[in-house]
Amino acid sequence: MESMINDTVQGAIYLSVIDMILLIVFLYAMGQLFKLFPLVNKIKFTLRKKGN
């Protein structure tokens, strides 16, 4: 696989900006996903209730 980034100062700036933005997006998306995690406990509760 070839590098998409040039070996220049400008390339380093592009690499940094893209990496930083994607990092924020990734972690923000992970955070949003974790907000749904309490639902896992509710699913368990519903299944048990149905079982009973």
Partner: protein
């Protein structure tokens, strides 16, 4: 006459005549690392074997470092990137990710505290390093030793000694580097903010976490799949509760063996001919810049979140967004405690701290992808 010749032959077979001033200097550096580990308790599990191997690596005449030598076999674990994922297995098996799952809005602090990576990367490029070398130097700012080794082995293996020594040394020195920056960028009022207790995270959520994160990260960022896979496997062993022996082994003796081998391997790269260069000094300075700006970035990010949340977040937890677990979280806790003995930030700071582990891995993964690795 025969006696003199015998003595001369014996002298020639020792390392004495090959000993250079550089070797002597690095033997003292190795001794300093051992002193810091024993006397100051700075990351002794790492600095002790690193320092000892550094001393040995600078004693000429032995075959320890040569092809087929004992330390060269140990180094195969770094060269073939076996140790970093195995260290992550142990870290996963000893870590409770609950504080991070419980407070998802703080995850983004793991990104803000990584700004140091990119400042060091651009700084390295300005100093004339190649983009690959600059990437490896930048990752020091993530304060994650195994990740620094992993990325450096991909991008610039010839800088392994400098990058790994800088990363581990600064991790050990975080309690000295971070507090002045934290106090400088926060007001007394901000340091006194009490945070609400985080919610309880169930065992089922933690099990789902390891499975879901493995699938998502391995799918989206294949270059870091070995690290995240092992981290999450270790955590699954711990949280499942059905393989206690495996979890105990992964986080105990197994982790100790790998840490010892990793420390010896890194220290063995510190021989005078590869380590004593101007580049080393530049990398060490850039590493410090990365740590300092990363700390500042994390604090400023936390201040922003504090404003957005209406004053509910203590900005001191921002600096914990640097990956080094749990050192950075402990530093946040200690600085807050010095300000107010009733503030206990450790659990709150563990959230961004754990997010930082993912932050460094993701930043490294994106970097490897963009650089075509």
């Amino acid at each position: 006459m025969i006696l003199i010749k015998a003595l001369q032959a014996m002298l020639e077979s020792t390392g004495l005549i090959m000993l250079t001033p550089g070797n002597v200097f690095l033997i003292f550096v190795g001794m300093l690392l051992v002193y810091l580990a024993i006397h100051k308790h700075y990351e002794p599990f790492l600095l002790l074997p690193i320092g000892f191997a550094c001393i040995v690596a600078n004693i000429p005449g032995t075959d320890l470092l040569l092809n087929g030598g004992l330390l060269s076999f140990f180094y195969l674990g770094v060269e073939h990137m076996i140790y970093p994922p195995l260290i992550f297995l142990g870290v996963g098996a000893m870590t409770d990710f609950g504080p991070m799952i419980a407070n998802p809005s703080l995850l983004v602090l793991g990104a803000f505290a990584h700004v140091g990576i990119f400042i060091a990367l651009i700084g390295a490029k300005l100093l004339g390093f190649s983009i690959f070398e600059a990437g490896a130097i930048g990752i020091i700012g993530g304060a994650d030793g195994p990740m620094a080794i992993y990325v450096t082995q991909h991008l610039a293996p010839h800088l392994m000694a400098q990058v790994s020594v800088a990363a581990y040394s600064y991790m050990a020195l975080m309690p000295l580097i971070q507090p002045p920056i934290m106090r400088l960028l926060t007001t007394k009022e901000e340091r006194n903010i009490m945070m609400k207790q985080v919610r309880f995270v169930s065992k089922r959520e933690k099990i789902m976490f390891s499975l879901i994160i493995t699938v998502i990260i391995d799918l989206l960022l294949p270059p870091i799949a070995p690290l995240i896979t092992m981290l999450m496997l270790g955590n699954l062993l711990k949280e499942s509760g059905v393989v206690e022996r495996l979890a105990k082994t992964a986080s105990g003796e197994f982790m100790n063996v790998i840490t010892l081998l990793l420390g010896l391997s890194i220290g063995s790269t510190m021989s005078a001919d590869t380590f004593l260069k101007l580049k080393t000094l530049e990398i060490i300075i850039l590493g410090l810049v990365a740590f300092m700006t990363g700390t500042a970035g994390g604090i400023l990010g936390a201040k922003l979140l504090n404003k957005l949340s209406g004053g509910k977040i203590n900005p001191l937890i921002g600096s914990a967004g640097i990956a080094s677990v749990p050192i950075a979280a402990r530093v946040s806790h200690k600085v807050a405690l010095e300000e107010n003995p009733y503030i206990f930030l450790i659990m709150h700071a563990m959230g961004p701290n754990l997010a930082g582990v993912f932050g460094t891995a993701i930043a490294g993964g994106i970097m490897l992808t963009l650089l075509g690795m």
